[in-house]
């Protein structure tokens, strides 16, 4: 039996690990100079945590409630705009909304609160629009959900994808220019000044999602995912619970949209397109549909690969290899191949449906050296097992064929299949109703 840690030790380990991570990120962002390669790591952590949050929110829908929704990028867009619009300082309005006479709103929440409460007001002024972004997105999702959640599987995906595209077009509509700046970028809004901000916000949000999943409502969501008809027969109101999951997921997508706006410092509706939705979906699939841990790991891996490790593929030189193939856009080709490989050979993703636990982690860590050492043997053993399985399968097939012939013969020879009942001579036992 493996050692199991008690509750206190586990909690202590988690607190220490989280504190260490946050401090390292804080110091890293403050003291690593901008030109250094390690600065890239900080960028990956920032963007990775934002994508981890949106991937976790998508996983709540896709992996835990079984709703195949592709509207996440659209909800992020609303979140990003809701945040940015209310945090552009008054004096910058003329510059930002240069085509719309300085826009409709001439103030920012950050300024108002900063004027009253100083530095605390500054952060509160960032926090309130972010929360508002989440709530506003949740409201939109609630309204969209009423018609859309009556659809199932692929149809739901198509409808949500369509809504996301409509939202994108809507925000670029010139008539809304005084608020959304039309198809021009929004900029100069308040952003964070250290990478711990998105890390902490995303961390807390993901923790809330995890708490939700492990509550009785989370169990009801999973029941809906596993079998809608049975869930309904167990007294779970399908529509109410789907709507709850959809709204909560969208709320967190909105928050992550606000964080993304801060990360990018300028935003525009154009990049929030289907490609972005697919990127989020890819993260969820890489990590494992039905595992929040997987989504987090997937988000960091994906961001690291696209922003850092595979950069060289676009620049012409990667791992010392130089090729004329490596030109802008080649990264995406490699990505596409990677995705295909993952879907073909690793459909479960990194985590499957498992979540992180310290016990699991320690067990994995202990086994790691042996696993690396034993890898060649293991491969041989696996190959042998595969061969054996194939032989067994072939034998079973042969047997099934025989049995089929046998039963056909029996059928031909009359009512041999029907077993008379013990109670009466007349009534015969029927098989399952053929539905």
């Amino acid at each position: 039996m493996e050692t199991r840690l008690n509750k206190k030790t586990r909690a202590a380990l988690s607190v220490i690990a989280i504190a260490l991570f946050v401090i390292l990120v804080f110091l890293g962002d403050k003291y690593i100079s901008a030109g250094s390669t390690w600065k890239m790591l900080i960028t990956v952590i920032e963007k990775g945590s934002i994508f981890a949050l949106v991937a976790a929110s998508m996983n709540l829908l896709n992996g835990f409630t079984g709703l195949f929704s592709l509207g996440q990028a659209g909800f992020m867009l609303i979140g990003a705009y809701s945040y940015a619009i209310f945090t552009i300082p008054g004096k910058s309005h003329d510059a930002v909304y240069q085509y719309f006479d300085g826009g409709l709103i001439k103030w920012s929440i950050v300024e108002i609160l900063e004027g009253k409460m100083g530095i605390f007001g500054h952060y509160l002024g960032m926090f309130i629009p972010m929360l508002f972004a989440g709530l506003f997105v949740a409201l939109i999702a609630f309204l969209i959900g009423i018609p859309v959640l009556r659809l199932k599987s692929d149809y739901l995906a198509i409808a949500t994808l369509g809504f996301a595209e409509i939202i994108r077009a809507f925000f670029q509509w010139n008539t809304l220019g005084p608020v959304t700046n039309g198809s021009n970028v929004l900029r100069k809004y308040t952003t964070y000044n250290n990478a711990i901000f998105p890390v902490i916000v995303a961390g807390i949000s993901i923790a809330i999602i995890l708490l939700l999943i492990n509550s009785t409502y989370g169990r009801a969501f999973k029941a809906i995912r596993d079998d809608e008809i049975a869930a309904e027969a167990m007294g779970i109101n399908l529509f109410k619970h789907k709507e709850l999951s959809f709204v909560i997921s969208s709320f967190f997508a909105g928050i992550s949209g606000a964080l993304l706006a801060m990360f990018q410092t300028t935003i525009n509706a154009t990049p929030f397109n289907t490609v972005m939705t697919y990127e989020i979906l890819l993260i969820v699939v890489i990590g494992g549909i039905g595992s929040i841990t997987g989504s987090v790991i997937g988000a960091f891996l994906f961001t690291a690969a696209s922003e850092w490790w595979l950069r060289g593929l676009d620049a012409g030189k990667w791992l010392g290899i130089q090729s004329s193939l490596m030109r802008p856009g080649f990264r995406k080709v490699v990505f596409a191949v990677l995705i295909m490989l993952i879907v073909l050979f690793y459909a479960q993703g990194i985590m499957g449906t498992k979540e992180f636990s310290w016990d699991g982690f320690i067990g994995w860590w202990k086994k790691l050296p042996a696993a690396i050492k034993g890898w060649p043997q293991k491969r041989k053993a696996a190959a042998a097992a595969k061969k054996e399985a194939r032989a067994v399968k072939a034998a079973a097939k042969a047997r099934a064929k025989e049995a089929k012939q046998d039963s056909e013969m029996k059928k031909a020879s009359g009512a041999a299949l029907f077993t008379p009942l013990p109670m009466t001579d007349h009534v015969v036992v029927f098989d399952k109703e053929g539905k």
């Binding site: 708490l211 509550s215 009785t216 169990r219 029941a223 596993d226 027969a233 007294g235 399908l238 029927f430």
Partner: protein, 282 residues
Amino acid sequence: MDNREVVLRLSDITMQFGGVVAVDNLNLEVHKNEIVGLIGPNGAGKTTAFNCITGVYEPTNGSIEINGKIVVENHPQGKMKEAYKGRNNGKYTKVLTMLPDKVTKLGVARTFQNIRLFKGMTVLENVMVAMHMNQTESIFGATFRSKKARQEEKAMREEALELLKKVDLYENRNDMSTSLPYGKQRHLEIARALATHPSILLLDEPAAGMNPQESDDLMKFIGRIRDEFDLSILMIEHHMQVIMGICEHIYVLNYGGQIADGTPAEIQANPAVIEAYLGGDE
């Protein structure tokens, strides 16, 4: 005559899909603590009748009364007015429909013909899901683990474990539901239905795929839970051994129509039933 109170009454229930009459004027009564059987050849409309009771389908005509209150009533509407082939035109005037979750809340629980357990969950979680509808904490309280949520969760867990002990699944409580052997999966489905605190239990072919020994055990099990949980049971079954062994009253359907009802002895002697199962003289 049975003078126990009627807990479930189907009056003239007709379910018509386009021109096909799946259930034709079914009149059925289940009394308190009674075990009633519903039998008939393949495609006779037994499961359709179940689906009408549990709110999966809205019957085309007729009414359903649960615990003395009419909860479902319908009459042919729209295109159905002309397509309706039943004999009770104009008898029912109200339109009352129920969604499956509401029916479950009224105390009617069911199991399924092809087992429908929650695959990604453990045995214990499967039972706890069924208790979700009785908890009162909001989603906020549940997420942030309010005192009430923690109490309810604890009570739910204890009750579920207690229930699993009663159905001999306590040892398997942390196994994945799909890893259980077939017979135990059937037991778990019944346990899950019991977790909704039903007064009426609908069993759709509980003995399907079981050998004589297993179906014998199941019969005893059904009898036991009826007494222990104070249930009235309506069951569809093809194993005549089971039906004749435990049902007090049997309804026989054929081609949607009701061809006989009575005690097991009456049913066995009924020529119409024999004809339905074996085919009459040409």
